[in-house]
């Protein structure tokens, strides 16, 4: 294996040489077209001809998956690249025991939305329900009375309002969109933090006793499941497509009830439809509570429709069962403003999910489509009734889709020239989805987005046309569309090799994979992905993350990418581990050149420009400066203890190293080498 690897590298080196010469020439006038040069670089590669077989394997492992693990390249070569692609297009036939075992510990993934509402209540809502039913535990009631008395006395330190008596509706269920998507609750900060802490602790203890957990846990586990599956799953293309469609049909976790609704969205809406008919996926998203909530359609009601009383008969029945106050509370505020038509979903459905912004629809079409979808709504959308019934209410149907004819506009509509007859009820919306799924603009729009994702940021028109044709001919069969895309000359051309900048999620996962690392997918690794700019389920706008290099490459994000590689290589990310010594072999890191050569093979399969390599070697052979300056030491936050032990920081650093179980710290030079290669321009690309 060792010898095959070095042969592999040699073949790369020789293939690269002519291209490299051209690149050097190019660089002489590079300063005049800093950005444009990447296009020039691609052209040069293109002229160099076809991808080598090794490059094709890497390309497929990067684009159809999250990069190679140790041994993957050899495995795919042995089975044949075309067989591998064929296999990835049929994920249901791939055994995936390891990944399934990893995610089996995440309890929320298996729960229904009603169970999630019941077991992961918003503490404020829970307390309010308890209070209403006179079941507030005495300690909490006492603390609450104390706080209220203080507030009424209007002392300067008056305690902040907390959940118990706070108004329901958007202030309560809706979290504040933190900038860039970090969810924050709308609760004000504590005026007197120690009080607040005591109160919060009391609430937490109560929840613990009752076997309840805070709702933040739900999204954290969902994020963990995405990371775990991307790292461990053999169904790599499936995970790439989950990422693609989740972003195409974006939902923001911090909007209102969506954090409870996203588990079902991932499990029941996206995953089963990644490679099926586009129309089925479209219907699934249209009927998903997560999307209905995110784009407000659950509140959309015909202004002239038959809705009079606020509650349907079914709801009234439930209300009796569930305690009236909870129900009224749920109904009042959201619905007071809800009456009336809401066009948000109708607009984004055409602009972002199907036709594209210039897809040929009018504002009138938006209004007509919105009328068609009135009544597509959610049962008990915020799960308040679950909480009113206590923790055992998990069996209900809270947070599920249903069609409410009382909210529906049953008149005739005309959508994109198609007449939708009066009296169609729920069929109206289904007809709209059918029209949209078969519209030529949709074929073009989906083809463009797939080509952008799998080939390059600005895909060539002939590629888009070919993929759109495959989409149309197969009646929107995603599997067949992708088959055509992967077989296209553009996908397999040198111009698309390493033409995409990895997204932060792809970078993090591919770095762990390439080093054969292990992770629990927990908050620590997700936080890094968020810092690099891509918190999962954390994009606020319905567009989803833009899929272009310029959105990922800026000064701050690049610095985080470099720091991520260093943190990973030095095992400073809690619950994510790499074992570098298994690659460093017997050389002990003493011969830096040899170590570097090994890791270039592991991380980049040796495919690195001769200049980068020469520069790396030169830098690494220089002696490491004895001590960093004071200021640079101060710049290292306590959570990012370095790999070494400076005189001043020895004690602290040692403790931190011990905590981080840095097994491979034996030679920090190895960490340095790996950090530099993970941070190299080559590894940022795929």
């Amino acid at each position: 294996m060792k010898s095959s690897k070095s042969r592999f590298r040699r073949s790369f080196a020789s293939a690269q040489r002519p291209a490299a010469a051209l690149l050097v020439a190019l660089s002489l006038f590079a300063s005049t077209f800093i950005v444009g040069a990447s296009a020039g670089q691609q052209q040069q590669q293109q002229q160099a001809g076809r991808l080598t077989q090794e490059q094709r394997v890497l390309h497929v492992l990067n684009r159809l998956g999250f990069g190679a693990r140790p041994g993957d390249v050899e495995r795919v070569r042995a089975m044949g690249l075309d067989n591998y692609i064929r296999q990835q297009l049929e994920p249901e036939k791939i055994a995936d025991a390891v990944a399934e075992a990893k995610v089996s510990e995440l309890q929320t993934l298996k729960l229904s939305t009603a169970e999630l509402f019941a077991k992961f209540p918003q503490p404020g809502q829970l307390l309010r329900q308890l209070e209403r039913r006179g079941q507030l535990p005495p300690e909490l009631a006492a603390l609450q009375r104390e706080r209220r008395a203080e507030a009424t006395a209007s002392r300067p330190e008056a305690a902040p309002p907390n959940a118990p008596s706070q108004k329901p509706g958007d202030s309560q269920t809706e979290m504040m969109p933190g900038p860039g998507g970090a969810p924050r609750t709308a609760q004000p900060d504590a005026a007197r933090p120690e009080d607040n802490q005591q109160y919060r602790r009391a609430i937490r203890d109560y929840m613990l006793q009752q076997g309840l957990q805070p709702p933040q846990r739900i999204v954290a586990e969902l994020q963990a499941s995405r990371i775990l599956r991307a790292v461990y799953s053999e169904r790599q293309l499936q995970e790439v497509l989950v990422d693609f469609w989740t972003n195409h049909f974006n939902v923001f976790a911090a909007k209102g009830a969506d954090r409870w609704l996203l588990v079902s969205y991932d499990r029941d809406t996206i995953r089963p439809h990644t490679l099926g008919k586009f129309q089925e996926l479209l219907v699934a998203t249209a009927q998903s509570p997560a999307m209905l909530f995110y784009l407000d359609n659950f509140q959309s009601a015909s202004p002239g429709g038959p809705m009079r009383g606020r509650l349907g008969p079914l709801q009234q029945m439930r209300q009796r069962a569930a305690g009236q106050q909870a129900e009224q509370q749920q109904q009042q505020q959201p619905q007071r403003r809800a009456r009336g038509i809401n066009e948000n979903y109708a607009r984004e459905l055409m602009e972002l999910h199907t036709l594209g912004v210039d897809g040929g629809y009018t504002q009138k079409d938006v209004q007509e489509v919105a009328r068609c979808f009135t009544g597509w709504t959610i049962r008990n959308p915020r799960g308040l009734r679950q909480m009113a019934m206590g923790g055992e209410a998990g069996a209900g149907d809270a947070g599920t889709f249903y069609f409410n004819p009382r909210l529906h506009d049953d008149g005739e509509k005309v959508v994109l020239g198609h007449k939708i007859p009066a009296g169609g009820g729920m069929r109206d919306g289904l007809m709209v989805l059918d029209i949209l799924a078969h519209h030529p603009s949709t074929a073009r729009f989906i083809a463009t987005k797939l080509a952008r994702r799998f080939v390059m940021d600005e895909p060539m028109p002939q590629l888009v046309a070919a993929v759109a044709k495959a989409f149309t001919r197969s009646d929107g069969d995603i599997r067949e569309t992708l088959r055509a895309l992967f077989a296209s000359p553009e996908f397999n051309s040198p111009a698309s090799y390493r033409a995409k900048i990895k997204t932060p999620f792809e970078l993090a996962v591919s770095a762990i994979r390439t080093l054969g690392g292990d992770t629990n997918g927990g908050p620590a690794i997700h936080q890094w992905i968020a810092r690099m700019g891509e918190p999962l389920y954390g994009y606020q706008a319905p567009t989803g993350y833009p899929d272009r290099a310029e959105n990922w490459v800026n000064t701050g994000a690049l610095l985080e990418r470099l720091n991520f590689g260093l943190a990973l290589a030095s095992n400073r990310i809690p619950n994510t581990r790499v074992n570098l010594s298994r690659f460093a072999g017997g050389s002990d890191g003493a011969d830096t050149a040899k170590v570097m050569e090994r890791f270039l093979g592991v991380i980049l399969q040796g495919d690195i420009s001769p200049q980068t390599k020469a520069t790396l070697l030169k830098r690494l052979s220089e002696p490491t400066p004895q001590a960093a300056t004071n200021s640079s030491q101060e710049m290292n936050g306590p959570n990012d203890a370095g790999a070494g032990t400076g005189p001043r920081e020895r004690g602290r650093a040692r403790r931190e190293l011990a905590r981080a179980e840095m097994t491979n710290i034996g030679n920090p030079e190895v960490v340095k080498v790996v950090g530099l290669i993970l941070g190299s321009p080559e590894f940022q690309r795929q």
Binding site: I34, R184, A541, M635
Partner: protein
């Protein structure tokens, strides 16, 4: 180059020499100098806009008190701030005989008196949403009612004035993650702590950084390597500024906590002359549904920190406030009538502060729609008379020199006629 530097020092008024940097200014700063030289017509200096978002919807009616309005006292028997009364620190601080400041905003009074602080009343989003989520989204995207806007208005402001020579510190958000307002194609930084803006590898930081610099500094030029070079210029420059050693000037005392800390770091960046044009930060805790308090209490405490932070920033920046405008905003106002929990619920129009030496301060701008029940929006909230885009647009054009407001606020007919004249 020496000409450049002289020009830079002279024209920008930034005392680089005083922090020992004149001879080490990185190349992006030298480009800043050139750019400044070329744009003499817009003043020849780097102007900075500091946008402060009060997340959670501050109660504008208790922040800037309409004490001349009888209905205000009728609507808020428990929460109203008493009419101004000299010598009584628990009453409104009179501004113009009709409006007054909440007493916790006392640090703003000298700014008002010296005509450096203006108030815009009854301003906000024309969209009627009362959801924090949607309203913040709209105020940051700058496109009320339209959710699919990809980027924020501050980012489009940068895009509308592309600079090949832009400083990596051109737009900085002192927040953990990039706020919606600054998301988009134009480069922007989100940093919660300037000291983190570096390569973090402990004792090996220097040597690892050297390695990165070398590989990103190679001949092959593309977007990654270009960004890489700029990144290290910025890192190295910031290192010399040495954020940990910063001492506020003029006796400025920032309040402890995240808000004061973010303002302090903005001051630091401005003084260091890193080419900052747009700074953003936010401060929460305004969603006062219950026990809001009056002259004292919950809201008072939040306002106290708010005013202490901003007034410290103004004091610290001293004469540099000639190039700086501070703008405060919040997603919507709160109900005119107090609720049954001694609090206020989600409302509509609100008030904003605009602060700076170039501000025509000492005035309340905008039309006051009144608080009589027929004057209230939907019978419950302060009505809107100024679209927030007219305020943002005025600052974008007059302060930052934007000439393309159509791009900054797509779908909105921005025009100088709609500006309130606060600058």
């Amino acid at each position: 180059m020496s000409i450049n530097r002289r020009f830079f020092l002279k024209s920008s008024g930034i005392a680089l020499a005083s922090i020992g940097l004149a001879h080490t200014a990185p190349s992006f700063l030298q480009r800043v100098v050139l750019a400044a030289g070329q744009s003499v017509k817009t003043g020849g200096r780097r102007k900075t806009l500091i946008a402060i978002f009060q997340r959670g919807a501050v109660d504008g009616l208790n922040m800037v008190v309409p004490h001349g309005e009888r209905e205000y006292y009728a609507l808020r028997p428990a929460l109203a701030i008493p009419r101004p009364q000299s010598g009584n620190a628990e009453t409104a601080i009179d501004l113009d005989g009709f409006f007054g400041l909440h007493p916790a905003l006392a640090p703003f009074k000298p700014l008002w008196d010296s005509k450096r602080l203006g108030v815009i009343e009854a301003v906000g989003s024309p969209d009627n949403t009362r959801s924090h989520f949607d309203a913040q989204d709209y105020m940051e995207s700058g496109t009320p009612g339209r959710k699919a806007t990809e980027d924020g208005w501050l980012n489009r402001l940068l895009q509308s004035q592309p600079r090949a020579d832009a400083s990596p510190f051109r737009a900085v958000s002192m927040t953990q993650t990039m706020p919606r307002a600054l998301q988009g194609r134009a480069p922007a930084l989100a940093i919660s702590n300037l000291a983190d803006f570096t390569i973090r590898a402990g004792q090996y930081s220097q040597s690892v950084q050297g390695g990165f610099e070398a590989i990103y500094d190679q001949g092959v030029a593309d977007v990654l390597r270009g960004t890489g070079r700029e990144t290290f210029e910025a890192v190295n420059y910031l290192k010399k500024v040495n954020p940990a050693q910063y001492k506020p000037e003029n006796g400025a005392q920032y309040p402890r906590g995240a808000f004061g800390n973010s303002l302090l770091q903005i001051a630091q960046l401005i003084k260091a002359g890193v080419g900052l044009e747009v700074a953003f930060t936010d401060v929460g805790g305004w969603d006062t549904h219950v026990n809001q308090g009056g002259a004292r209490g919950q809201l008072a405490l939040r306002l106290q920190e708010f005013a202490a932070g901003i007034s410290a920033l103004v004091r610290d920046l001293g004469p540099l406030m000639g190039d700086v405008v501070i703008l405060t905003m919040s997603e919507f106002g709160r109900t005119a009538r107090e609720n049954g929990n001694r609090g206020t619920d989600h409302g509509h129009a609100n008030a904003m502060f605009v602060i700076g030496n170039s501000v025509k301060g000492g005035r309340v701008y905008g039309e006051w729609p009144g608080l009589k029940s027929e004057q209230l929006y939907e019978g419950r909230d302060l009505a809107l008379t100024t679209d927030f885009r007219d305020v943002f647009g005025e600052l974008a054009q007059k302060h930052l020199g934007s000439t393309n407001l159509q791009k900054v606020f797509p779908g909105y007919a921005s025009s100088a006629q709609k500006f309130r004249g606060v600058l």
